[in-house]
């Protein structure tokens, strides 16, 4: 929102230093995004007429211009612009001029022919943010004078405010000036008003059909109008605020809106002399001022000429092209209405048409702003058109939906309870009165009336915010609450941190790929898309599916690194997946996935063992259940009974081929909602058994079809309570062992509770181990 310093200074006697004002604005919550000094004349730049233009055969892109700056001397200037013609009056930066961007205009040449200055655009003169070629000045401009003087562009400061959604009132300079006046403790004058003598009573008839959408409709009548150019200060201010000057009537209308936040529309009263406000018929058309033919919706609000019920304006958004003011207009019907915010917003969205008026109506305007608007309108108009007369008897039609001032009660104590500082009733009343919230106190109770220009304020907490804002957030002080809560990580959060440290300890890097997938990403890695959620409005189709597995993202990152000369990366991710559920929200859960390029099943199992150890968890390896997308003979499901808690092994070579990943890739995926939420009981200490232990080494031949864990389990059971540990210390395949079998050598450490093992016992244990192993399908190796 652009706010002009000169207008603020007219409305309130605020400090003359714009920096001081900028700080105040930010402290009031009207954040200044940018502060631009505009319209500063550039000494050395003068108006000049282009006498003639020539092309040079060797310089196709530039034109030689011969200009007259009014001093009787013809100057030659090279010019790269194309929008000028002989006879045009343009700005000439004479030799020695320092341009706003710091460039010095010196005698320079092309092809040995010097340029005696530079012809300028609006951007080069710092008049505007954009331009298309040279600034072409009015034909009757005098020569040799400042173009700023010719255009009436005044030195000014533009504040670009980042307004918050609640401050509807600050879409007009008046709202900003009111806050500043209160802040600096000066009186608010508002815009200068001088309506002259009023004309005879003149009321134009108004009918409101859509009472909810249009809660107030006022029409003021002005006669004696002569349409012509605006005064220079008006066009200059409009330009600084980003609007184009049209004529004295339209400019007055626009400036009044920018100043007072009251959108208004001037109709030619000879054409429209009675109004009706109704909902549009579906399919009805209207040509808006921008020349577009709009097909209307039955919820669009239409301002009609009641004489023929034809639309003359899309209410709150834009006027009708055919009811525009013309050069022959002599009487005006100035409409200032209050339209309900939401319908205006929906109409603007429906038609893709955000106008200066609609942005104001959709935030909420002041239903009582029309009086000042009409007065200010005629004040501005009278500068160029002294015969203009505002008539008494303006039509004011209100419906029951019109916003009313609201009474709000607060107490000094309530303010103190909220802010933590005591502000006395007198101070509260003074703060509120200064911003137009008519307030009075009775002891510690304060009553105020919320003005109709502040639709954001309705309850006591809103009023307390206003008090805090003007008291100054910096003045409220800083205390720390006396917490009785003990700060800590939950068990799950602590375990997650342990897990992260185990993973980095394993040399694995954390990845954070996008949780959005493209259609096909899941099937590419051997998973299904049956249970996915889809985005209704994705940025791109390739990011339209919510992941149900971390695998596609991690494998993509792995491939990315492979293709950037990092062939052996190990990546992990802890993140959410979102499979669809029967409920409104998905079965969102936290998962861990690890992939290692060049890793194999043993890599993944070592990771799983490290995690089991760190988190005191475990699961059965079930190789009979091949997890989808994993290597059919080198992977297993991690299960607890029927519950699957993860998968471990290698990625299916077919998947790797599809993705273009080279070599083996190990993978471990775990459901963390299960593993992190467990709270293992503290292990209870056993006394050290100080009796000597003995080891028995046993080597067996076991067919490949039998899982090693079966043999281990058999040995464990057979060794019984004397078993301290069992370790697989050698695996052998090859000569001496039959094809389809392998030799597995176990070392069993045995120890007697409360005594020394005897040879007899050891021999018994060995015998029962061998017997059990044979039962499990193994044969003792000779």
């Amino acid at each position: 929102m652009k706010i002009l310093f000169s207008i603020l200074r007219e409305m309130a006697d605020i400090p003359s230093d714009p920096e001081v004002v900028a700080v105040a604005l930010t402290n009031l919550g009207l954040a200044v995004e940018e502060m631009d000094i505009v319209g500063t004349p550039v000494p050395g730049v003068v108006t000049a007429r282009i006498n003639r233009m020539e092309k040079h055969p060797d310089a196709a892109k530039v034109t030689r211009c011969f200009v007259d700056a009014g001093d009787g001397e013809e100057r030659h200037v090279w010019c790269g612009a194309t929008n000028m013609q002989p006879g045009d009056i343009v700005p000439l930066a004479t030799l020695g001029t320092k341009m706003p961007n710091g460039m010095d205009i010196a005698r320079r040449g092309i092809l040995g022919i010097d340029s005696e200055g530079m012809l300028c655009s609006e951007v080069e003169l710092g008049m505007s943010d954009e331009s298309s070629g040279l600034l072409i000045l009015p034909k009757d401009s005098p020569l040799g004078v400042s173009p700023f003087e010719v255009l009436g562009i005044e030195h000014d400061v533009v504040f670009d405010l980042d307004l918050t959604r609640n401050r509807a009132d600050c879409w007009g300079h008046l709202g900003v000036a009111r806050d500043l006046a209160a802040h600096f403790g000066v009186s608010l004058n508002g815009p200068r008003v001088d309506v002259g003598s009023l004309g005879a009573e003149k009321s134009l008839p108004v009918v409101i059909d859509a009472e909810e959408n249009c809660a107030s409709f006022t029409v003021s009548y002005i006669s004696g109008v002569k349409v012509g150019p605006s005064p220079r200060w008006v066009s200059s201010r409009l330009a600084h605020l980003g609007m184009r000057s049209i004529n004295n009537v339209v400019d007055a209308s626009n400036l009044v809106m920018l100043e007072t936040n009251q959108p208004n529309h001037a109709y030619d009263a000879a054409v429209v002399s009675s109004f009706r406000v109704r909902l549009a018929e579906a399919g009805e058309t209207l040509t808006t001022l921008d020349g577009q033919v709009r097909t209307l919706h039955s919820e669009d609000l239409l301002i009609c000429n009641d004489a023929d019920n034809s639309g003359v304006g899309l209410a709150g958004v834009m006027g009708d092209l055919h009811s525009e003011i013309t050069e022959t207009t002599t009487t005006l019907a100035i409409e200032s209405a209050w339209f309900s915010p939401d319908p205006v917003r929906f109409t603007a969205i429906r038609h893709g048409l955000r106008s200066e008026a609609s942005v104001r109506f959709e935030r909420g305007t002041d239903p009582n702003g029309w009086v000042l608007a009409a007065d200010r309108f005629v004040t501005i108009l009278r500068e160029t058109c002294p015969s203009a007369v505002l008539h008494t008897g303006a039509t004011v039609v209100r419906t029951s939906h019109c916003p009313q001032p609201i009474d709000v009660h607060i107490s000094v104590n309530a303010v103190e309870r909220m802010l933590g500082i005591r502000i006395e009733a007198d101070r509260i009343v003074a703060i509120l009165n200064a911003i137009g919230f008519a307030a009075k106190s009775n002891g510690d109770d304060v009553t105020c009336v919320v003005p109709t220009w502040r639709p954001d304020c309705a309850q006591s907490v809103d009023i307390i915010e206003e008090i805090a804002r003007h008291f100054g957030y910096d003045n409220i002080g800083k205390t720390v609450p006396n917490s009785t809560v003990h700060g800590r990580l939950s068990n799950m959060q602590q375990r997650r941190r342990i897990l992260r440290r185990v993973l980095v300890g394993l040399g694995l890097d954390e990845a954070m790929p996008s949780p959005f997938l493209a259609p096909g990403d899941l099937t590419d890695v051997g998973l299904t898309e049956d249970d996915v959620l889809r985005l209704a409005n994705p940025l791109v189709a390739d990011e339209s599916i919510l992941r149900t597995s971390l695998r596609p993202g991690l494998l993509r990152s792995l491939r990315y690194n492979q293709s950037h000369r990092a062939p052996r990366v190990g990546l992990w991710e802890i993140g959410h997946v979102y499979p669809k559920s029967d409920a409104q929200l998905p079965n969102e859960s936290e998962q861990l996935a690890i992939v290692v390029a060049g890793g194999d099943a043993e890599t993944a199992l070592a990771q799983w063992n490290a995690i089991c150890d760190a988190l005191s968890v475990g699961a059965q390896l079930d190789q009979s259940r091949v997890p989808p997308g994993l290597h059919a003979t080198r992977s297993a499901t991690l299960a607890r009974g029927k519950k699957v808690i993860g998968v471990v092994g290698e990625v299916d070579p077919v998947v790797l081929d599809v993705l273009g990943i080279e070599g083996r890739v190990s993978i471990l995926e775990l459901d963390l909602t299960t593993l992190l939420n467990e709270e293992p009981k503290p292990v209870q200490a056993r006394d050290i058994n100080r009796f000597p232990s003995s080891d028995i080494d046993l080597a067996f031949v076991l067919p490949e079809s039998i899982a090693a864990t079966n043999l281990q389990r058999a040995l464990r059971q057979a060794a019984g309570k004397r078993l301290v540990s069992i370790e697989l210390f050698d695996v052998y395949r090859g000569k001496g062992v039959a094809e389809g079998s392998r030799s597995l050598a176990f070392r069993l450490r045995l120890q007697e509770e409360g005594g020394t093992l005897t040879d007899a016992i050891l021999s018994d244990v060995q015998k029962s181990c061998v017997a059990a192993a044979e039962k499990a399908g193994a044969t003792i190796r000779a």
């Binding site: 002080g477 800083k478 409005n537 950037h564 929200l585």
Partner: protein, 345 residues
């Protein structure tokens, strides 16, 4: 009484002298050990003298000779021990010389094979923030990333079609009831869930992933991270909010940093503020938003605004990571490119 001169005594003296000479001239610890077992062993000269003790008939002389044998053995052992120490010292010295490695070379190969993995910068920043807030007495709450319209908007004082909803570019999930399920646009819905589930008083932070319909550029990602703070207690004031922000500022950034609040607007807080951090050099970082929890929000969380009051604050985690490590383009942080990741230990 003079001791009888017997030939064994001379033999002993000669054996001892010879033994000491060969000990002192032995050239390695292995030689010395072999020599000693010869000298002091059963077949050695001293053992020969010892075995002839029985032939000495004079008791005194036998006793004297026996003593002399023991002394000779002790003298040999002593000489051997001392020589062994000398020899071992020399041998260790040469072994140590032979063991020499280039530690810088090992350091290089150790780095290549034993590199510790890296946590993502956002995770590192999140943990740092969590630690600071835990120190300030906060607990950590988490919530779903796919949310209902109720938690993301309605409970936060933004009823359907509330204009402030346009402050967030929302990604919606396809559903039977269009618009009813969203990817949370902020961590604020967790506030409501915490109010509903945790008994007050509540001192909680809520870090997590959030989503916006935004095209990635150097400073924006459609998926990023926020941390939200919520305090609900009796007698909580705006000054407590300002003081908590200040405590956090000093704990996280350092003693030289200060904070300020300036008025702003959020539908779910009132009064609302932006909070800025002032660096020791006087420059400002605009960090996040905060305010007193709006009475409508307390009610949506099942709390009575007449009994409980609170404040909330929130800011971006990614930006903290970006600032801390001088990351120019936030997209690099999400590239999973090992060339980026491995810079940060």
């Amino acid at each position: 009484m003079a001791s009888a001169s017997i030939p064994e005594k001379d033999q002993l003296a000669a054996a001892l002298a010879e033994g000491l000479t060969s000990i002192s001239s032995s050239s390695s610890s292995d030689d010395l050990r072999a020599l000693m077992s010869a000298l002091a062993g059963k077949k050695g000269a001293i053992a020969g003298v010892k075995s002839s003790l029985g032939k000495v008939t004079d008791i005194e002389a036998r006793k004297e000779l026996g003593q002399a044998v023991n002394e000779a053995l002790n003298a040999l052992q002593k000489a051997s021990d001392s020589r062994l120490r000398e020899l071992r010292a020399g041998e260790f010295a040469s072994q140590i010389q032979a063991d020499r490695v280039d530690m810088t070379e090992l350091a290089m190969s150790a780095e290549a094979s034993r590199r510790r993995g890296r946590m993502h910068l956002v995770t590192q920043a999140t943990e740092r923030l969590e630690d600071v807030f835990v120190g300030l007495g906060f607990q950590i709450a988490e919530g779903p990333e796919v949310e209902t319209d109720f938690y993301n908007f309605e409970a936060l004082n933004m009823p359907p079609s509330h204009p402030a909803r346009s402050m967030w570019d929302t990604l919606f999930i396809e559903s039977d009831e269009p618009g009813s399920v969203v990817l949370r646009t902020h961590t604020s819905p967790v506030q409501i869930r915490v109010m509903q589930e945790w008994p007050p008083p509540i001192y909680a932070i809520m870090p997590g992933r959030v989503f916006r319909k935004e095209t990635p550029d150097a400073t924006h990602m459609p998926v990023f991270h926020q941390i939200e703070g919520l305090v609900i207690d009796r007698g909580i004031t705006f000054a407590d909010l300002a003081g908590t922000i200040e405590s956090f500022t000093k704990a996280f950034f350092g003693e030289g940093f200060t904070s300020r609040l300036r008025p702003s607007y959020f539908p779910f807080t009132e009064p609302s503020a932006e909070f800025d951090i002032r660096r020791p050099d006087g420059s400002w970082i605009e960090l996040g938003g905060c305010g007193m929890v709006h009475p409508h929000v307390l009610r949506a969380g099942g709390l009575d605004p007449n009994e409980w009051r609170g404040f909330a604050f929130g800011f971006g985690i990614d930006r903290m990571a970006k600032e801390r490590h001088g990351v120019n383009d936030i997209r690099d942080m999400y590239s999973d490119d090992i060339r980026f990741t491995e810079q940060f230990s």
